[in-house]
Amino acid sequence: MPKDHGIGASSKRREDKRFLTGKGRYTDDINLPGQAHAWFVRSQVAHGRLTGVDTSAAEAMPGVLRVFTGADFEGVGGLPCGWLVTDRFGQPMQEPGHPVLARGKVRHVGDPVAVVVAETAEQARDAAEAVEVEIDELPAVLDMKAALDPDAPLVHDELKNNLCYDWGFVEENRAAVNAAFETAAHVTTLDLVNQRLVPNAMEPRVALGDFNPATEDSTLYTTSQNPHVIRLLMGAFVLGIPEHKLRVVAPDVGGGFGSKIFHYAEEAFCTFAAKQLRRPVKWTCTRSEAFISDAHGRDHVTRIELALDAEGRFQALRTETHANMGAYLSTFAPSIPTWLHGTLMAGNYKTPLIYVNVKAVFTNTVPVDAYRGAGRPEATFQLERVIDKAAREMGIDPVELRRRNFITEFPYATPVAVEYDTGDYNATLDKLLEIADVAGFEARLADSKSRGMLRGLGLNCYIEACGIAPSQLVGQLGARAGLYESATVRVNATGGLVVMTGSHSHGQGHETTFAQVVADMIGIGEDMVEIVHGDTANTPMGMGTYGSRSLAVGGSAMVRATNKIIAKAKKIAAHLMEAAPEDIELKDGKFSVAGTDKSVAWGDVTLAAYVPHNYPLEELEPGLEETAFYDPNNFTYPAGAYACEVEVDPETGKVTVCSFAAADDFGNIVNPMIVSGQVHGGIAQGIGQALLEAASYDDYGQLLSGSYMDYAMPRADDVPFYRVDHSCATPCTHNPLGVKGCGEAGAIGSPPAVVNAVVDALQRAGHTGVTHIDMPLTPARVWAAMQG
């Protein structure tokens, strides 16, 4: 029987009422009295020396308040990078400066050079066209391998070369891994590209800065996944504003997918300019501008090699990846191809020896940072592709090859420094074969053939590390922040609750899910619980939402705070019933004394806490409000198996996704409907990456796919109905809810299934030379592959 409320119930998303009726309050909906508007003048060339910015004509234009250039930011800090990676020789990465507005050089198309602030956005835009920017163009550094050529032009003149770091992991294993390759019975090698993507959240970024000269308080309203992180980074590193004088508000946010984690120049600019001009300053990104100013995702070029024994047991794995950083280091950029990628290379398999080499490279392109999955899709894709290729080369069924190598005993310490707490990979794989009806594939294949179509089946497993992250561990790995989460539970006198969380919801449905958890713990209705997030003024310091961490980390903080509430409430109840606190039981919102028929209602206890007439004031403070922080002691490890069936039109190369099935182990589930929705969205993004999306630059560093005319986002008719299952649950062993996180899985697990399916279809049709096609698998690419 599915539950109808509390943990395990598919409660309707309460936030949707406002979203679907136009009552959401997004940053762009906020307008302050006296507000001025900013328009950014951006570099139109990828690389050049900035020899002059003449603002005089623009300053004379109607409505213009001031034109800012890089010179106005002398003495102001640059945008900080939140992660220091140490290279394989023990040296810190090369870390170039990242000015708010370009100084000396421009380094990518879209690099901000000047900003016009005017009475209206149109006036600012008109004047922006009158800003004269003089640039001596330099050759653009675009290809990552060419960027490492000793003669390559430097993206940053102050650096030795264009290499951010050369990272080896685990460096001590290198020799042993190489030796294993010497003696292996079989080695499968695959060269592939995990292409650059543009995140494309539905809501473009917006920043609105405000300054109160009377109190000297600054406020920034911004489209962020983590307002506290922005407050810390911008306040401490860029503008020098202490936290108590800076408030950051991220109200309703229309999707982020990682791109709204980072601290951007526009946020710092609007906060800075508001203080300079003594007026609120607002910037609203256009979609075209988003393409060249939101951090991009992925962009890895990889060679992966898998060594197997004659029975197909994995002996060793070796990868070499070039990871594009773009022109500057975005907030978490260095950590993505390293600690969020290398540590996942074991996948679901007991490969004893693994060595991962990553060369992070600066190029004259938009900075690259976390995008849904962040490092883990790149790890999963290459691993699951090379396994499929090995299976074909060795004549072993791809399902069987995976099973032969599954990790089956937990906890399991991988050779890449993480310890999986629980899992059951055979269970999810069995479930997948069932829901994907793999047994019926031959019949569907025959049907496709009868219509002249090729058909293929692809499947893969995945594992990811979520619930980011144990602070001490990531501190050792170079993180410059902690990654705990926080919650304050405030109970009102008449029994309703407000939970203030450091997590941030930008589509995930926290207001619903979190209320389900707290209501369930107390045994009251979900409508008694309100979730507040997104404002540093009324939430405890928290690290925000990304890395599928909100329920696993933020939810754990909330459980702790709620447990503190319950413990105190029991003492109050014990006093009211003249019983011992140990004898008090809480069930269905009622406190009773064990073994008696005495009880008091939740509301009686909360009222007593605030009207303490009959109350143990000597032992207990009045009121009922508790805060808790939670720092996880391990990551969580959601895992699963995905299957995709495609049809390929042999004449045009067009791929149609016929079906997609996903069997996930997310541990315990609070709201199955929301979890399914997260998986659906992730798969749509994964299919988008596999078949449609690519950020492509020309030889001059111009983004060719800089609008929806050329950047193909998945649409409803590009994706099939999904079959998803999350019944194979092995609860997480180290957080109180036993949850693992589900936000990224779909995007991580799906691209290899699609590509495996297309390769399978071509192989079955006799195109035996086609062992790989780089994403996106556009009709033109698939057709070209078939031409040989």
């Binding site: 149109e122 008109d126 066209e129 075209s288 004449e651 045009t652 067009k654 078949l691 449609l692 690519a694 492509s696 060719l704 796919s705 929806y708 005319m709 050329d710 950047y711 193909a712 986002m713 556009t778 009709p779 033109a780 057709w783 070209a784």
Partner: protein
């Protein structure tokens, strides 16, 4: 967008006069022009909207049997109202863009713009349609002059398009994955005196007739008739979405499919 004035005439004469003013430009459904204005790629001082002129709207069948479509008729109207008389054309219109584009965009605007990937030019050229303007009639074969270029003079307004009705016809569009304009689109029309094949999306010179296929199909109107033909990739568009070779290949494949669909 830059600021501009807008006129909304209700007669063709008033529109012609309005377009005589300095830096004036016709506005059809605005589905091409408005995005260009928003991106500040164009800066007309004055727009003259044609969609309020009743004489430019609507569909009828002329005495000679030709289907006449007013230049300001929306794609959605063509999709609905030409379905009985010219199903291939109605089907083409029904697959342009999305509902919003189809409800605003007009046949006149599409033809005046002559985007190399647009759909209507293929129908007009394959159907031997006649383009009427406020001053003259232009035969389809004389109208299209390459990418975004037409025989229209400055300020000339398309008023109507007249389509002779073929015995059999079909349009097959292979969508560019992002824009869903035609990566390649082929319109095949079979008349009593021969077959016409017009190709959009593929050539650097815009819409064109594939005369070799026309000859083969005029003899034998079956997909097999073009199976052995090939198109020279020279002069075909190469971009992110497909090489010249790929486009040349698609022309043959889609022509075969259009013939099969027309004969079905």
């Amino acid at each position: 967008m830059y600021a501009f004035e807008i006129d909304r005439p209700t007669t063709l004469d008033a529109a012609v006069t309005a377009l005589g003013q300095e830096e004036a430009q016709a506005l059809g459904g605005g589905q091409t022009l408005i995005p260009a204005l928003k991106q500040r790629l164009a800066s007309p001082a004055r727009l003259v909207s044609l969609t309020g002129i009743d004489d430019l709207k609507g569909i009828c069948v002329a005495d000679d049997g030709a289907l006449c479509i007013g230049a300001a008729t929306s794609h959605a109207t063509v999709a609905a109202e030409a379905a009985a008389t010219y199903p291939a054309l109605a089907d083409l219109a029904a697959h342009i863009g999305d509902p919003a584009v189809r409800n605003r965009g007009t046949i006149g605007g599409s033809l005046a713009n002559n985007d190399p990937s647009a759909c209507y030019p293929a129908a007009v050229l394959a159907s031997r349609a006649m383009i009427r303007t406020n001053t003259r009639e232009i035969a389809a074969d004389d109208y299209f002059e390459g990418m975004f270029a037409t025989a229209l003079e400055e300020g000339e307004i398309i008023t109507e398009v007249r389509f002779p009705l073929p015995e059999q016809a079909a349009y097959v569009k292979f969508a560019q994955p992002a824009s869903r304009f035609a990566l390649v689109g082929v319109f095949v029309a079979r008349f009593a005196d021969g077959v016409r094949v017009a190709v959009t999306g593929a050539s650097e010179d815009g819409v064109f007739r594939w005369t070799e296929a026309e000859a083969a199909l005029s003899d034998d109107f079956r997909p097999e008739a073009v199976a052995g033909l090939s198109v020279d990739p020279e002069g075909m568009i190469g971009d992110l979405h497909g090489s010249p070779d790929y486009r040349a290949h698609l022309i043959r494949v889609l022509t075969g499919r259009a013939v099969a669909a027309a004969a079905a």
